[in-house]
Every structure is written in C-alpha cells, then in structure tokens.
C-alpha cells in the first residue's frame, strides 16, 4: 500500500502517522528503506507534521557515504509504509469467515447422505403399507319415536332394518316405553365413518317412513 504520493499532503500525513512510533522506516536502525523514502521527498515535511519532520532531519544528518552503507535492500517505494506488510491476523479472520458452520463441507458426503435418506424413506413407506389400516367405526344407538301410540313398533323396526348401506350393520333393538303407552325403538348400528354418514340415515328414516316415525335422535354415539 505504501504512503501514496509523498509529494502530496496526504502522503506526508501517512508518513507522519507511520513514523510517530518508529525511529526508522524498517527496523531499529537506518536502512536502505529510509534512503528510498527519503529520496521520494523533495523537501522537508512541514512543521505541523512533527514526526515526519523529525525523521526527515534525522536521515538528512547522515552523509551520502553513510547512507550508502545502510543495510537492507532498496525496494519499491510502494512496499514501505502502512499496510506494506500484510497483517497476519487478517488472514486468520478470513479463514474463520469462510468456514460455513452449518453447511456440509464435502459434496461427496452430501450425495451419500441423500442416498441414505432416500433408502430410509422407502423402507418406512413399505413398512407402512404392510400394516393394515384400521377402519374407523362407530357404534350408534338411534331413538326412533313413533308418530302415535298406535304405530306398530315391530313394523317400524322391520322397515328401518331394510335400510341397507355399504358399511352399515344393524344391531340389536329394543323397545323403551316413553309415556302414555308409547314406546320408542332403540336400535343399534355399527357404521363405518368413512362410508356412512349418520345424518343421512336419520334423514332417510324420517323421510321414508314419515307415516310411522315422528323423529329420530341419536341416543348413543360411540367410536370404536
């Protein structure tokens, strides 16, 4: 990076900042580095850059012969000064940033992992397919109330049993007295939830057998 143009104010300011804590450009005794930078300055730095001026006067105090005797090698002016030597710490920081903490480091490894994942998925779905799915069923008891007390409950029961649907299974039935000699029919049925809708059945009963049935209620609803 260097000082930049040492004939410009900015370059001289850079020099001033650089030599504030150093007596020489490189190391702790005069070297060719000082000669090179000195030659780049055509005149002394201004007095408001005290460190640069101090350094300048010091190097100036050496004769040309002495200057020739300084150690080191003459390098390009741009190599001297701030940033000329790369900060070792910076490289470490870059390395740290590059490490992807959560990503996989190897592409090959990623492919392997993906293959394994796929295999496992297939095994799982095969296992799942073998297992017989449990069919959801419900046990329902319907209360069927007759239209009047003269309705023949046995007939009602018979008629209700004629309702046949896939997934519908009629169970036991019994007559339960309600009041004044009226009996309601309690009939059980086992229904597959997916296939049969309870509402459909109740509506059907109410609609088809209007003459016999006053209403249908669900007395019991149990999931099996």
């Amino acid at each position: 990076m260097g000082f930049g143009d040492l004939k410009s104010r900015a370059g001289q300011q850079a020099l001033d900042a650089f030599v504030a804590d150093k007596s020489y450009i490189e190391g702790f005794q005069p070297s060719q580095a000082d000669v090179v930078v000195f030659a780049a300055l055509s005149q002394p730095p201004p007095a408001d850059l005290p460190n640069a001026l101090r350094w300048f006067n010091h190097i100036k105090s050496y004769s040309d012969a002495e200057k020739k005797g300084f150690g080191g090698q003459k390098k390009d002016l741009a190599t001297y000064g701030p940033g000329g030597d790369a900060k070792p710490g910076k490289d470490d920081d870059d390395d740290d940033d590059d490490i992807d903490l959560f990503g996989s480091s190897d592409e090959e490894e990623a492919a392997e992992v993906a293959a394994l994942k796929q295999k496992r998925l297939e095994e799982y779905s095969a296992k799942k397919a073998k297992k017989p799915t449990v069919i959801a069923k419900s046990n329902i008891v319907l209360d069927i109330k007759p239209l009047d007390d003269e309705t023949d409950m046995a007939e009602v029961e018979q008629k209700v049993r004629t309702i046949a649907m896939d997934g519908l299974l009629w169970g036991a039935a019994k007559l339960v007295p309600v009041a004044f000699g009226i009996k309601k029919l309690q009939i059980a049925m086992v229904v597959e939830d997916a296939k049969v809708s309870v509402d459909d059945i109740t509506e059907k009963i109410e609609a088809d057998y209007e003459d016999y049935v006053q209403s249908v209620d669900i007395h019991l609803f149990q999931k099996i």
Binding site: D21, K22, S23, Y24, F28, Q29, R54, W55, N57, H58
Partner: protein
Amino acid sequence: MVDTCEELSRLATYLGVSCGKISFDGKEKVPVLKVQNNSNPKGLVTVAKYLTRSSQHADALLGATQEDKAAVDQWLEYRVTHIDRSTQDKDVTSCLKELNQYLADKVYIMGNWLTLADILLYNGLVKIVGGLTFYEKETFVNLSRWFDNIQHQTAVRQTLELVPFQRNQLYRGVKVH
C-alpha cells in the same frame, strides 16, 4: 530502584571494557568501582563516565564538542536527580512528560546519535516504562518511540527483557502529553 551495579557491568560489556570490581557502598548508597590506583570512583554517573572514557567510544558516547559534552552531562545528572530520586507517581509522570516533549523532534537524546545519556536514561526508565499501560505508552508516544528504539539495540539491552509497545486503534486521537 535499578540495580546500579548490574547496570554498570552491563555498560562495561557494551563498551567492551573490563569493569573490574563494582561494589555497592551501603552508607552512601552508591556503586563504587575498585580501580588500580585506588581513586575508586563513586556514584553511578562518575563510574559510568570513567568506564566510558577508558573505552574506545568515549567521543561518540560522551560528546565530541564541549557543548555536546555539557549536554550529555546534563542528561546524566537528570537520570540521577530526577528519575532515580522520584518517589511519587506524579514526579515520575512529570519526568515522563518532560522527556516526551523533549524527544518530539529527536531520535536520540542528543539528536541523531546514541550517547551515554541514552544508555543511562534507558536503564533508569526500564522498570518505569515496563510498568506503564498501553494507554499510557500511547500518551507518551515520543518517549515510547525512543525507548523502543534503544531497547532494540541488543548490545545496550543485553539480558533485560523487551518492553512491549503496541499502537492500539482504540487509542487513536488520544491526547499526547
């Protein structure tokens, strides 16, 4: 307190002279050099100058001209009267401030070359500067620069440890004494 006897033997090594026997006079609290003709120089500065004069580097380290010699002497005295005798922190700080201001435009105490003044002041300040925080070193930036330069002359430092100096971005723009 600096161990003056050790310091003087280090100086002798630097100068390339044999230091003979340096003992510490407990009563006057000064180092004494046992010399053949029994003149036995007493006192840090006296012994140091004696050793330097007996070496090849006398002119370079003590000053070639009368003015230079006087200036070097003045700084040698400064070492003993101000630095060694500073007991309180504020005295030490005022010394450091003074030196920092003085060194703003100089690479060495005498300007452009190493003298006995640099060596003795370095030795006197080693413990003090070693105990400064990085922040304080930043405020005495010229002093730090000078000190860092001297301590890297291995012939001067010899067995002493290096005091670390590091510029810190946090302290940029800190008020320099």
